[in-house]
Structures are given as structure tokens and as C-alpha cells.
Symmetry: C2
Subunit: 319 residues, 2 copies
């Protein structure tokens, strides 16, 4: 697979033109309630307001719109699969998504609705990767990786472009980290345009693969990454995303599942939005962080997605 080299600002600007009219330039709003609570301006970049309610459409459409293949395959815990299915449908391509048994049912349903074939397969990511390779070699399909790909990273970077265009000044941005595609793209865009702003990542304590990789200086694979944040538990970052994070990311926080759930409750009750657990992780940093001053006076939280299971949402409201 040709994963390409790390994209630069020009690639991200080109991606933003490619995805225009497909991805939404999502709102960036101050939450006065959160600003008051945390004693600094808190802004929310509402990727949960994308057409598929998650940022992944940026990268997937940027990638797939450049492919000549008629068949597309993705391995996904849900959101990437939705993005690939949705983009394939718009571009008239056939799509297969290979999912873990534990995928959020609402996401599986949506993938099927978008006309893709959804296959629940195997216990581990390696099994699903093998299945994907089998399909690729049988059908000549193109595998679209969820994060370790220059076009995917460039697409996700358009979120960073927008933040810089929407907000005159800010001190830091906090970005959820799964495989690192979103934070790679955002950090490349922001460090290119506003080098004094800090970019921080946040991962679940049970899946701190970026922190492990940064410390080891190489990719570290987790046998059983675990978190309520189903979008943040790939077993490892990629070599491209690790390279971007080493160059451009200022630090990575860990948060517990309890902190993520408390953050989700806070966002539902006080910011009036309905994020999924992954999208709540940046607010969990504010709740848990004892060095909140480090974040500065104007902090942007990237609310990466809103594909929350209805059961969990009901519990969050009632609890």
C-alpha cells in the first residue's frame, strides 16, 4: 500500500477544495458555560455536525475521490467505515467494511444504510486486516486505511485549516487520538499557520499508544486496547502519524473512562450537544488536568464525533 509521505499545508489546502460541498465547514463556538467553569475561553469545534456526524468524512472523501478503483475496502470500528461507505456511495463505488463484533450497532446500521457490505469478522484487528487483504487480492479493490495515509491525514487537516480561519487567536487545541490521523492533519495545519499555538492529544488510559510510541521512539502495539471511547482504540499508531506527532504535537494526555463519561455528561448538560465518548475526551482533559493553566487562556476542544449509542446517551442524561 502506498501510504505516501507526510502531507504539507499545500496538500491540506488542496484537500479542502476537494471536499468542498461534501464535508461541512463545521461551527466553532464558544461555550460560555464551560468558559465560566474552567476560568478561560473554551471553544468547541463541532465535528459532530458533519453530515455523517464525525470528522472522518474529510479524509475518506479526500482519499476516495482520487482513486480510480471501483471497489473500496475498509477495516473499521465504525466511524471510518461510515465515512468510507458514505464517500463511496457519493462517488458511485462499491464498498465493503470489515468490523469488530463489538462495533456500536448504530454505526453498523448506518454503514449498511449507505449501501456498503458490512462484515463482522474476527476477534482481533490482525484477523480483520488479513480478511481485508484477502478481499483486495480477490477483487482488486483498494484498501483505504483509517489513518496511516497521506491523503487521509491531509483531509483531516482541513479541520485545522478551519480552526485557524474561524478564530483570530487561540493558545491551544486538544484533539482525540485514535490512530493519530486527525491530530496529525490538524497539527500540520496549525503549526504551518500559527506556530505559537500548542496542539495536545488525548488518549484513553487503556489505549495510550501514541504516548507509548513517542516514549519508545517507535510504534508500540497494544494487545488489547480498551476504552468506552470506541473510536480511540486501534492497537497502534502508524509510522506516518507517529512522524507527524513527533514533529508537531506538544504533548499527549491520558484520561480514564470515568473522566470521559463525566465529560460527556458535562457537554450534554452544559454545552447542549450530544458527543460520542471519543468526542468527549478533550473535555475530559479539562476535568482531570491539574495543570490546566498550561493550556492558556483560549482553548479549542475538537468534538470529533456524535455517533453515540442511544443506550449510553439515555444513561448519560438520566445518570
Amino acid at each position: 500500500m502506498n501510504r505516501g509521505n507526510l502531507p504539507d499545508l499545500d496538500d491540506i489546502v488542496a484537500a479542502s477544495k476537494r471536499i468542498e460541498g461534501v464535508a461541512t465547514k463545521t461551527p466553532l463556538v464558544e461555550s460560555p458555560a464551560l468558559s465560566t467553569r474552567f476560568g478561560r475561553k473554551i471553544y468547541l469545534k463541532l465535528e459532530c455536525f458533519q453530515p455523517i456526524r464525525v470528522f472522518k468524512i474529510r479524509g475518506a472523501y479526500n482519499k476516495i475521490s482520487q482513486l480510480s478503483a471501483k471497489n473500496i475496502v475498509a477495516v473499521s470500528s465504525g466511524n471510518h467505515g461510515m465515512a468510507v461507505a458514505y464517500s463511496s456511495r457519493l462517488l458511485g463505488k462499491k464498498c465493503t467494511v470489515i468490523l469488530p463484533e463489538t462495533a456500536v450497532q448504530e454505526k453498523v446500521n448506518t454503514i449498511i444504510e449507505y449501501g456498503a457490505e458490512a462484515i463482522k469478522y474476527g476477534k482481533y484487528t490482525v484477523d480483520r486486516d488479513a480478511k481485508a487483504k484477502e478481499i483486495v487480492s480477490k477483487t482488486g479493490a483498494t484498501l483505504v486505511h483509517p489513518f496511516n495515509d497521506a491523503d487521509i491525514i491531509a483531509g483531516q487537516g482541513t479541520c485545522g485549516l478551519e480552526i485557524v480561519s474561524q478564530l483570530d487567536d487561540f493558545d491551544s487545541v486538544i484533539v482525540p487520538v485514535g490512530g493519530g490521523g486527525l491530530i496529525s492533519g490538524i497539527s500540520i495545519a496549525i503549526k504551518s499557520l500559527k506556530s505559537d499555538a500548542k496542539v495536545y492529544g488525548v488518549e484513553p488510559q487503556g489505549a495510550a499508544k501514541l504516548q507509548a510510541a513517542l516514549k519508545a521512539g517507535k510504534i508500540v502495539t497494544f494487545d488489547s486496547p480498551k476504552s468506552i471511547a470506541d473510536g480511540l482504540i486501534p492497537s497502534a499508531v502508524g509510522d506516518l502519524t507517529l512522524e507527524a506527532c513527533r514533529k508537531y504535537v506538544d504533548g499527549v494526555y491520558s484520561v480514564t473512562d470515568d473522566e470521559i463519561l463525566s465529560a460527556m455528561k458535562l457537554l450534554v448538560r452544559e454545552a447542549h450537544i450530544f458527543p460520542e465518548p471519543s468526542g468527549s475526551a478533550p473535555a475530559a482533559v479539562l476535568l482531570s488536568n491539574r495543570e490546566v493553566e498550561k493550556l492558556g487562556e483560549r482553548v479549542v476542544l475538537v468534538i470529533s464525533g456524535g455517533n453515540v449509542s442511544l443506550d449510553l446517551l439515555a444513561k448519560t442524561i438520566n445518570g
Copy 2:
């Protein structure tokens, strides 16, 4: 108060430039699940993804950005108040919102968060209108009407401009009707650009003020309009909105509160969005309408807002 004349397409295009970067060009997506269920393509225009989670920001910002007054007053059941408070904050103006005792608490909280003064006052709209006039005469503030105003209608019309730009072809659009500002603006835009498309309104059975006015040929005032859809219960339409609806609207449906709640459940479960009752009313037409063929093969539902009370949302998920 100078309510102006009915805006035309040029006014709506001018409004779209004025609100750029403040209001969002919201996604227009097909819901494959709803398309399957209703045997025709169903598209959702997601105004619940605006920065304040309701279309009202379009009209309010278009209006207030043209005012020289430093003090702004609004009489509102919630959403208009949020839009006026949010726009006033962005434009550095002082804002007072007069609300009914029954306003949804989440909306009242948001108005206060945006820095406006929120006054709960009186049992009836006439009481609140009187209070507003008192404030205007005391302070020189400008009263911003929620719908019967050319700049408000032009702002809401930008939603119609976007629908035409986002969808190559469609047969009909269904729009919730409160005072008629949104449907007036949308119908002016659509009939100017795509005259073969039909524009239908939907009102609660307990507040069918547009249908009454169209039938009587003049404004009909309801003593106690009633519905779970708290955004659709002003006591009457305005003379400007009545004029627009007479000219450009092809029909108006009534739906019951039970149908609205069923529609809300359908949208939450099958379209994966969280609309408020008012924003669910267009889907209620599909659920209740025995002449659904009349709507054609490609139907756009305007999901006007998503400021739902958490209690009601939890009930909808659990019920």
C-alpha cells in the same frame, strides 16, 4: 416598527453574504433508512447543526448586523431569543429577551449564557409584547420581531438558497411553521430559482394559525395555541409572512402532538439525529399523510432545530 416589504431573491442573496462565517451552510443529507421506509428519496436539511442548533441565527444575525441601536430586545419562546442573544453578543450589543413562564429551561439557560438578560413575564404574548414596548420606550432599544420582518425573512431564506445549491433536483420541501418566517424565506428563494418545486408547511393541530389565516384571507389570532412543539405556537402569523405564504406556499399540513413525538422517535432511531419537536414536524407529515405521493419522488424535510429538553430526549430514547 418598520417591518419592510417582502424580500426578494436579491435580498436573500445579500443576506447570505452578511451571515457568512456566522451561520453554517448546514448539511443536506439523504436518509437511506427514511427513503426505504417511505418509498421515495428523503433528504434532511440539518438546521439542528447550526452553531446555536436552530435556523433562527440566519434571520437574527442578518437583522441585527444592520442595526445601529446598541440595545436589542426580543420576545421569544426560546429559539428566537437564543439567536438574538447570540448575534447581539457577536456584534457587541446589549440584549434583553422576554420569555413565557413555560419556556424550555435549556433554552433559557443558553440565553443567559450568551450574556443576555432573560425576563420571564406574563401569561400571554400580549403581556410580553407590552413589556417589550415599555423597555423600548425607556431605553431606546430596538425590538427584533421573530418573523414579521423583511430582514428576518430574508435571513431565513438563505436556507432555501442552500437547498437549491445542494440538491440538483427535488420535488418538494416541507417546512415547520411557527410565525411563518422560515417558510416565507424558503418559499421566496425556491420559487425564484426552481419554480416547479412545491413548498409545503406543517403546523401543530393545536396551533394551525397559517391554515386559518389562508382560509380567512386575513390574520386569525389563537387565544391559546398549544403543542409539544414549543417553537410553533405563536398566536398568529404576521401580515408579511401571510402575504409570502399566499403567494408562494403550495399547501399546509396539520399534525398532532402524538405524530410529532413519533416522528421525533423515528429521526432519533433511524436518522441518528436529535431534533426538537418543532424540527420533527416535517417527518410527522410523512408518518400521518395519506397522500404521500403528492410530495413526489424527492422530498426535503427541513429539520429546523435541535434544542430539545433532555427530559423529553431521554423519554424518546427509552419509550
